[in-house]
Symmetry: C2
Subunit: 283 residues, 2 copies
């Protein structure tokens, strides 16, 4: 069992708050310190007892063994180099959904080896400390990227932490992560946002449109409730891969469109049968 540590969580929202619950539950923390720019969120995180104390960033760094960044990826780029400037032997990790941009922003930093780049593949469409839940992360994948660029002791603790909270580990380089994340996470969010906009646009002239909304609609549009401050920077940082996948997705939609335009039901059946092969993956 890893030794309990004083852990600072920068950003006590959905992700940071849910991780705080889990770190305490699994006896990984001797103290949980929250750093939170939003005063109401800070207050709420204390009320909900997600963290023991709220501190300013510098004070939190001075009083912790591990520093976890659970803020939007654009904010990580802004804060991470300065945090590495200030640490001594602390472990620093981030939970962001992109990895290439984050790693490259501290590539030549003298303390680079104290930083571990990770992405625990868990989230919901809600945000803020009031959305933090028990049992988060369990049975999901945690990705650690470019582990060879981090100190062994730091990676060892991060691996143990993720395993202790019930995640299975995957290690890969940052480019592979960002490509895969574009395919199995980022594009889902874009299609969901775009679908919401498609239907909301129609609603302006047709108020009745949602009376018929079915469970299927709800399932495909659920992610469209996701926070813009979190997702816009993810798409921007992962722009190249997201554009590749988005172009492919639009091409796939055009194939359906062509079948409808040409009244080609044989090819339409074929496209759907192809898609049905997802049954292998999603039970």
């Amino acid at each position: 069992m890893p030794e309990r540590k004083r852990i600072a969580i920068i950003g006590v929202g959905l992700i940071g708050g849910s991780l705080a619950i889990r770190l305490h539950e699994k006896k990984l923390s001797s103290k949980l310190i929250g750093v939170e720019a939003d005063k109401e969120h800070a207050q709420k995180a204390l009320e909900l007892e997600l963290v023991d104390e709220i501190m300013g960033l510098d004070e939190a760094i001075a009083n912790s063994d591990v520093i976890i960044l659970a803020i939007p990826v654009d904010k990580i780029v802004q804060l991470l180099p300065g945090i590495l400037d200030k640490i001594d032997q602390q472990i620093v990790l981030d939970l962001g959904s992109t990895k290439l941009s984050l790693i490259s922003c501290v590539k030549d930093h003298p303390k680079r080896k104290r930083y571990v780049a990770t992405h625990p593949m868990w989230g919901t469409e809600y945000s803020g400390p009031q959305s933090a839940v028990r049992g988060a992360f369990e049975n999901k994948a945690a990705v650690i990227c470019n582990a060879e660029e981090s100190d062994e002791d730091a990676v060892t603790w991060v691996r143990a932490m993720y395993q202790k909270i019930g995640m299975h580990l995957l290690e890969m380089d940052a480019a592979a992560h960002d490509l895969h994340a574009a395919y199995v996470s980022h594009i889902s969010h874009i299609t969901s946002f775009a679908l919401a906009n498609t239907v909301l646009e129609k609603e302006k002239e047709d108020q009745a449109i949602f009376e018929l909304a079915s469970a299927g609609f709800e399932s495909t549009v659920r992610l469209a409730k996701s926070n813009s401050a979190m997702w816009a920077p993810i798409f921007m940082q992962n722009r190249e891969y997201v554009l590749d996948v988005l172009n492919e997705h639009i091409a796939q939609l055009e194939r359906f469109k062509a079948c409808l335009e040409k009244d080609d039901d044989q090819n339409l059946l074929g496209l759907i049968s192809e898609a049905n092969k997802i049954r292998r993956i999603i039970k």
Copy 2:
């Protein structure tokens, strides 16, 4: 409470089978007769006691008070006129996801008034009698189209039946139904099929892609498991409206693409904030 009737269900799959369970549970049927072209499905429907008996179509018509079509919409177009040819005073209704094509295929039929065009807005991504479930349809919307073209007694029974199984009624003309269904159901299926194809295409060169598949991906791709024999005819019959919505959806995706290409994070934030308004609709 409506009088119990002898009810024939044409097509004892997911929808017909789930309705059969519910008709029995709510004491709406004195006898449930299944008509099923697929021999294995017929056998399974008897084994699961979804229906009391399997009959041929003509025998079923002769021995029932109500005939419910729960087969793909292309098959309804093929069978419905012939069924109306053979009935006397029975009530005939369909559960299909399109309404304009079905109504128009019997528009001038002398027995048109015995037919009630309906669409109970419930389903899952599975199919066949083994996928039939208890508690289906509850708290969902049932649409009745062009009720004024049907006999009063027939519409009255159909309304009472849907209310008894826990659905709320919506009445509208067939064109409004087909337009709304394109927006809140059909397009969700197309985006999900296309997303599955996008990712499966990539998987051909990259076997690891699904190791990271998250709950968000699962949610947006779930409908891609849906049956092609059911969905291809729906898209074809509702081609005009589905194409309109598909064009609009592709245009919305192009707006995301333009933001990424132009590095325009302000407009990207705006698009996501717009999409977030779906929170009003989907809690």
